[in-house]
Subunit: 252 residues, 2 copies
């Protein structure tokens, strides 16, 4: 039997957000590979080997998955959210490009998932309902000045902005600088959403104006979304609804 490799998205946490396509791939797998907390979401069963690995070893993990598939194993690499958004799909293709030629004959599929920004957006309303951008705020893999440049241009373009990896223990100052920059270019009243652990029992949503945003409102489990100039809040009896209308009537 020939091996295959599926790079699958587990969504933000709730089992009800995992697509049947991903569930079927997991049911047919011999090996599941991924970052420890994501592999922990997979139920053990006979015939399935789980390969949890630590953060920041993405290329090693990718090469391991490719090698197992080349040996005839049925391998699923798991990411949270969508594997194509700041996750394992790009890492697998980087390893593929750098690896032995026979890997290019492998059956490799990417199975999309519900990415964190869309899960967070859904919970809050529809802040990404008009043009938007997604930026990874980690400077592990890119220079910090490029992050600031992109933030300024995105604000000038009046995109809503979704931020992945806003803050980590290794980079306590970066997100503080991001908030200062955003206050400068977007003004103090622009709404910002902190959506933590969306779709899990730990879920917490908070919407504040940029003037009140503090770096410690985000941690590694937080998705951050900043509205465009058009983004609005509807106050309701339960929680506020954050949304960006479909229309722009102002001049460009």
């Amino acid at each position: 039997m020939s091996g295959w490799l599926a790079i699958a998205g587990l969504g933000p946490g709730d089992e009800a957000l995992i697509t049947p396509e991903v569930t079927a791939a997991l049911a047919g797998a011999s090996d599941v590979i991924g970052y420890i907390p994501y592999v922990a979401r997979i139920a053990p069963r006979a015939g399935l080997t789980l390969h949890p690995s630590d953060n920041r070893v993405e290329l090693d993990r990718a090469a391991h998955a490719l090698e197992l598939a080349a040996q005839g194993r049925r391998v699923v690499v798991v990411s949270s959210g969508d594997p194509g958004v700041f996750a394992m799909a790009a890492a697998v293709f980087e390893a593929l490009e750098a690896g032995p030629a026979h890997w290019r004959n492998l059956d490799i599929r990417v199975l999309p998932g519900i990415t964190a920004m869309l899960a967070a957006s859904a919970r809050a309303g529809a802040p990404l309902g008009h043009d938007f951008c997604a930026i990874n705020l980690s400077d592990n893999l890119k220079p910090w000045p490029l992050i600031e440049k992109r933030l300024r241009l995105a604000a000038e373009a009046d995109f809503a902005m979704a931020f992945y990896n806003p803050r980590s223990k290794a980079r306590p100052e970066g997100f503080k600088r991001v908030l200062e920059l955003l206050r400068e270019v977007c003004g103090p009243d622009r709404p910002i959403l902190f959506a933590r652990a969306v779709s899990t029992p730990d879920e917490q949503l908070r919407i504040v104006p940029l003037a009140e945003a503090r770096a410690d409102m985000a941690d590694m489990r937080t998705m951050v979304i900043v509205g465009s100039s058009m983004t609005r809040i509807i106050d309701g009896p339960a929680r506020p609804i954050l949304y960006t209308p479909r229309s722009v009537t102002v001049s460009a």
Copy 2:
């Protein structure tokens, strides 16, 4: 029994890409409302009323859904892809904000789905594996100069770009101008993906350099993704893989 309103994403077409959360909402619905081809994806059953409506009546459709929920019905508004990305969620909140105060007491949930750009990205590889933006190229609801401004700023920020609604019969010239602008700011070699009817039997993928891109490569069922300056192609025995590495090592 009190009514509720769910705004649900059906994903790009394949049933295996519909989340169990959406399937459960549809199973509990008394009414399904949406654009004709999306409502056509819902199997009729006893106790379920289907309300298909035409394009460009989104606000009327949203108000209808809110009114039915206010009457105690269990209503699902269906979008393709994700309802929060250029789809019905923003329209429902626009109608909510403009409507009677009692609507604000309704139980309204947005149920995310696999949006077209992530389904297309998964099929092609991982072109959105680094920072990216999503732009609706329709000028029905925004002035054309704003589209051009955003394209130029997005290119300057070196985002990969995903384009929704690239081309329609009503706007045959717009996408041609977009391609000219992109060739000017991104150069002739930048890869562009045309992903048509992803995850359906009509699926077609084509990757060409911008120099070879023509407006008629896209239609209303096509998702278009333009790579960043870092986006690469791996040639394989089957089809080419398009991906954007996670790292940026050039200076900003």
